[in-house]
Amino acid sequence: MSLIDSISLPRSIRLPRVDGLIQWILPLAVIAIWQIACVTGFVPTRVLPAPSDVALAGWKLLLSGELVRNIWVSFWRASVGFLIGGSIGFAFGLANGLSQLSAKLTDTTLQMVRNVPHLALIPLVILWFGIDESAKLFLVALGVFFPIYLNTLHGIRTVDPQLIEMGRIYGMTDGELFRRVIFPGALPSIFVGIRFALGIMWLTLIVAETIAASSGLGYMAMQAREFMLIDVVVLSILIYALLGKLADSASRLLERATLAWHPAFQKR
């Protein structure tokens, strides 16, 4: 045992640092190749500006304050829409997972609504809300609702019935049973829903902002297109990628913190 320990000890210290870097090798390589392709003239800058030009455009927008303002507006829309849609989806998931009556009452309706692509509602939403903030929030909330609803419901329904029986035998009240058995059991599935929802959140917001908005990243990209500022268009797309990655990392962090018991999170 002591021999194995002494061998594996330094490796376990070194590994996380390398792991943190490995995931960035590919994006950095892509940027490097992209830069070389632009500088050598292999790709005309009318088609795709060099990463250095994109960075320069970003720097200018940053100095003017426009970039931060637009990112902030988009971030605000995304998170508020996510919170509204996510809470409603979570509430319906809980209600329909715990109560047969509630499920009979609402599940069929929700499944019908689910099959309407929520982006198809954009014309209707513009008629209802104009190009106001509420239009974007409504669309994001609607898009986020279903993955969270479905996965919360699924999580609660698939909690091991043997554990629930155990909880009842040991005299847990309904509240305790929910807090100590049902909710923790449903949590891994709820997180799957959250990560799906984060993807849909960005998608919805981009489309909504591109079609009807007077601020935000999507608007910034559309404005840049009008003036043929291709570097700003590319910049907006890259920022979306970064924000998406950020949201995903945040949910992973939360997952790691709350699912420490799960075998999948116990390595390392």
């Binding site: 043997q162 155990m166 035998i169 040991y170 005299g171 018991w261 116990q266």
Partner: protein
Amino acid sequence: MQTALRTSLSETELASRSNFAPHARVVREERPVHTSGLPLSIRGLRKSFGDNEVLRGIDLHIPAGQFVAIVGKSGCGKSTLLRLIAGLEKIDAGSISFGQDIQPEDIRVMFQEPRLLPWARVLANVEVGLGRDRASKDAHARAEKALTEVGLADKRDQWPSLLSGGQKQRVALARALVSRPRVLAFDEPLGALDALTRISMQRLLERVWRDQGFTAILVTHDVSEAVALADRVLVIEDGRIAHDVVVNAGRPRQRGSAELAGLEGSILSHLLSADDRT
């Protein structure tokens, strides 16, 4: 140690027994006076699931502190009997009485699966067993004591998924013991363990039973386990008690002794002969 006494049974008990189990040897073993266990009286117990009548009239008396094993082929109703005793299923007809009013904490069940909460650490899992006393100040201390009894005090802060099968089952045992139950029902608790772990778990079960003196009811398909642990082995066939066999070996039991092997053989032949008849 061989102190089993044959005492006379009440007439009703004799009458009800002779109705359905003519071969049963009706014996009551005397247990030490200090037992904390509860006696158990079952009268005319019946249970059906749909059209399937699983228990067809069980009459049984278990003295306080006795270790009873219930064996039988799968589907004979032995697990149902245990679940009825533990209050996990509703009784169709008949009665189960413990001779006094009981608290939920007085009866505990241990299953084939450990049924630990994967998201709670070992100690918190044991505390679940305290029932309504979970919030009390000495909950930690009591849970730790129960963990020590099963030899897992050092695993108190471990996640269950990191324990071996035998360790998980020992945590489940600690959880069942922590409320000092007076009746402990085991539903094939060792069925999923490997042979060596099984034997050490059997020794552990015998030890805690002798220490705490609860009434133990063990459902198992393993006849050698039944004779190694129990004072008395009930053979269930077709929803009835077909044989009631006393095991008069000393404790702690010596595995593999000729005496136990002989008993095991005769119980097995009962089970197999029932097979031949059908």
